[in-house]
Symmetry: C2
Subunit: 303 residues, 2 copies
């Protein structure tokens, strides 16, 4: 019998993980309005942008301006991805106090994505962590936790090694990423059971891409396994340029709708989310993959 909690936390990563994959540049003012809508909707965490060099991700090259212009309501962590010391300097100058760091559980993906080995990435993260202002809250992303397009299966021992290394370095929370959406409810169940002895679940988040439509099903398996933090991206932002029509992250409003229906409290205002999804969809001039946006704006079908 499914074990379900009273409440969970939803972390909104769309402005960073979603918009970094948009082919067309999104104007800074649009990003700022989107982020302000999201922080007002009740999330405990919104990932605002990335201080990766604009040569690599020009879509987020305006991180400084975005951080300067957004509202900073109390109680919302406003995160930035920081890839290295240079990024950390930029983040510090922008007044960022919530930092996301990145490493892959797949050696091949880590080398292709970050141009260094996993151990080099961990050393790099240690360097950034050692340099943080006191009180900075940190989140460590582990990608390819449920399989890798280069390596196929990723041994759960590799996931455990990378995740515990991050915790040992002092990262506050680990977000385990199904980066290509190949996870399934059984693998979530089995991996979380295997990882639980090493990873305190209260410091673990799950991050599902919805490429194969399984993200909500995987989240149910994660809930049942005791995870209490889940990432989403408004509208399902983050469609991959190499897989037209494929979704990026699970659409946050789909996730919140499901949790609301289940009586699992999130503290997030679903109506505000639907409005935010409709807003960014209109600005991007394309249909986003989220499902609930369509249902909420349409009518029921009784056929």
């Amino acid at each position: 019998m499914l074990e379900l909690p009273q409440e969970v936390q939803i972390y909104e990563v769309g402005p960073r993980d979603g918009l970094q994959n948009e082919p067309a540049p999104v104007p800074t003012a649009v990003k700022v309005e989107l982020i302000d809508r999201l922080t007002a909707a009740g999330f405990p965490y919104v990932e605002v942008s990335s201080f990766v060099h604009p040569r690599w991700i020009p879509q987020l090259g305006d991180a400084e301006q975005v951080f300067e212009q957004i509202q900073r309501p109390a109680g919302v962590r406003l995160g930035a991805l920081v890839p290295n010391m240079r990024g950390m300097e930029r983040a510090r100058e922008a007044g960022v106090d919530t930092v996301a760091l990145f490493v892959s559980a797949s050696e091949t993906h880590n080398r292709k994505n970050l141009n260094r080995s996993i151990d080099e990435s961990l050393a790099n993260i240690a360097e950034v962590l050692a340099d943080l202002e006191p009180g900075t809250w940190t989140r460590g992303y582990v990608s390819m936790v449920f399989g890798c397009p280069y390596e196929g299966d990723v041994p759960v021992a590799d996931v455990a090694r990378v995740a515990t290394a991050l915790l040992d370095l002092g990262v506050d929370q680990i977000s385990l990423g199904d980066t290509v959406g190949t996870g399934d409810p059984r693998s979530v169940r089995d991996r979380m059971a295997a990882l639980a002895p090493d990873l305190p679940l209260e410091r673990v988040a799950l991050h599902f891409h919805d490429t194969r439509g399984t993200a909500l099903a995987n989240i149910v398996a994660g809930l049942d396994a005791g995870v209490r933090v889940f990432d989403g991206a408004i509208g399902g932002l983050g469609g991959c340029p190499y897989a037209p029509g494929a979704s990026g992250n699970v659409a946050t409003e789909d996730l919140v709708q499901m949790l609301d229906a289940m009586g699992v409290s999130t503290g997030v205002d679903l109506e505000a989310l639907v409005d935010a999804a409709a807003f960014i969809e209109e600005k991007l001039k394309k249909r986003l993959p989220g499902r609930y946006l369509r249902a909420a704006r349409g009518q029921y079908c009784t056929a």
Copy 2:
């Protein structure tokens, strides 16, 4: 901890439940090719058409021709929806030996959809059942099991009453339908637990529409609750004319992909399903809502 079976059965209902909602008429030859592809893919059941009067569902007005032209491989039940005695006569003349019957758990929906009360529908079903050729296999659909757009919540006692009435009348299998996609994993868990004392689970199927993207998550809850038969529609056919972009049934290939990944055997050939989904998508000249079709035809996103 999620309880998962070794194998399940997937029933393909797209040619009937999907195509009946298509605004444009689908040529008989296209239906026949689609159905032949589906029966060849390994399903134990394919719902071929409906003998509802063509005045009400002109999309399926060619049921006789379709039944005449399709392959009938051994081991596949080829079902037809039969609404009344006149439909039963047509079905019998067409050589149909697998009959699906329909009733709602919601009185208001039953009256709006079928123009009679639930009890009148049950009497009507009894009349059809009494007239069947010996050896005919029957499936009873109960719709609005997880909520109704007219009545809101549908008491689980009403579901139990209708479903047990169908079983008492001799229907072989009950398919409990989330007709508008408002079910959620908790309601599936709780309803199945409430119904289990009255309904032998080996005679129960679950039928989820994916309007809010929760169908696969609901199926995980159904698996965990002990259900072993699930309905799907190839490509996610069945989008509702009143909710543009909303999905109809869960896309069968998405479901089979998830079960394959989970190591739950279905006996269905996923590659053949993707081909069938691509075939009907091309013929319908519109993008179908299934997710895996896009992922299978695209490339992985590694960002």
